[in-house]
Amino acid sequence: MEQQSTQIARVPLTHISNVAIVQSGSEAETIVYANSAWYGEQAVVEKDWIEFSALVSAWKRETRLSSSLRNVFASAYYKSITTMDPDKVVPLIIRQLILEGSSPYHWFSALVALTNGNSPPPALGGNVRDISRWWIEWGRARYGRQLGPE
């Protein structure tokens, strides 16, 4: 497959079709090439993002109806996500928050734990959208281009 530009795309799994997995030179990680309706053409999608997105989809499918945080956080999928290397998974979670927009999922506890206690100011209270915005801004300042195009 002809290598396309190395645009890193934060593409939801639902927008990916015709995935082909190829080795990229001597790199240890596999680069996934996919046709993306999101971008209208082939885009490079990170393998880590693919794996993370699959875990997120499974976690949400298992827990979205639950009124029990105990069950939400006891999910094996959630544990798989939160035991990943923090340097790898925190930017992925921030990307996910960007995608979730005004309806963020139960990410905030994980972010606090994975960032060694970093947390939004108490003044934000329980405002979900404000907290999500805070984490996204924090993530952009820290990870910048790693989060993909705005």
Binding site: R61, T63, R64, L65, S66, S67, S68, L69, R70, S102, S103, P104, Y105, H106, F108, S109, P120, P122, L124, G125, G126, N127, V128, I131
Partner: protein, 159 residues
């Protein structure tokens, strides 16, 4: 407007039996909604929910039993009701549970009856909905209705 859940998760919620009445929110859950509290997530666990302490009524056993959930709702006026039939002047709640081991039931969901006889449910993280029958939200995640509670209806009829 279609809800955001997977139809396979709530197979009885077919077109025509429900209406979505809110957007998705983690601000409150089904038991809170049954108690008409949209500011808190009610659950018998310690911790915070987006900076706000998870709420459980003081003095109520901190477990997931149906009895504990009934006791929690008793703090906002609910008492035992023998059925879920519409009774003018009474607001009813249906408690759902799943059998986690033989003879042991864990509370999973609560639905509140509206003045016209339909029911309203907060679907976990997802939307509030109105549904025609209390059993419309029976599903593997929620189990079945195991108890009905009631309290004097004090809010306007047009709820």
């Amino acid at each position: 407007m279609a809800g955001s859940w997977d139809p396979n998760d709530l197979p009885r919620l077919t077109a025509g039996v429900y209406a979505v009445t809110s957007c998705e929110t983690t601000q409150y859950n089904c038991i809170a909604w049954a108690a008409t509290d949209i500011l808190n997530w009610w659950e018998p666990v310690d911790g915070t929910m987006f900076g706000r302490p998870i709420f459980w009524p003081p003095g109520v056993p901190r477990n997931y039993s149906v009895a504990a959930y009934a006791a929690a709702l008793a703090t906002v006026g609910y008492v035992e009701s023998g059925n879920g039939l519409l009774e003018p002047g009474w607001e009813k709640v249906a408690l759902f549970a799943v059998e986690t081991s033989p003879g042991v039931f864990e509370a999973t969901h609560a639905a509140r009856q509206l003045s016209g006889g339909t029911w309203t449910s907060k679907l976990g993280y997802l939307e509030d909905i109105i549904h025609m029958n209390v059993t419309d939200v029976c599903c593997p995640a929620y189990g079945t209705v195991v108890r009905f509670l009631k309290r004097v209806r004090t809010r306007p009829m047009c709820d």
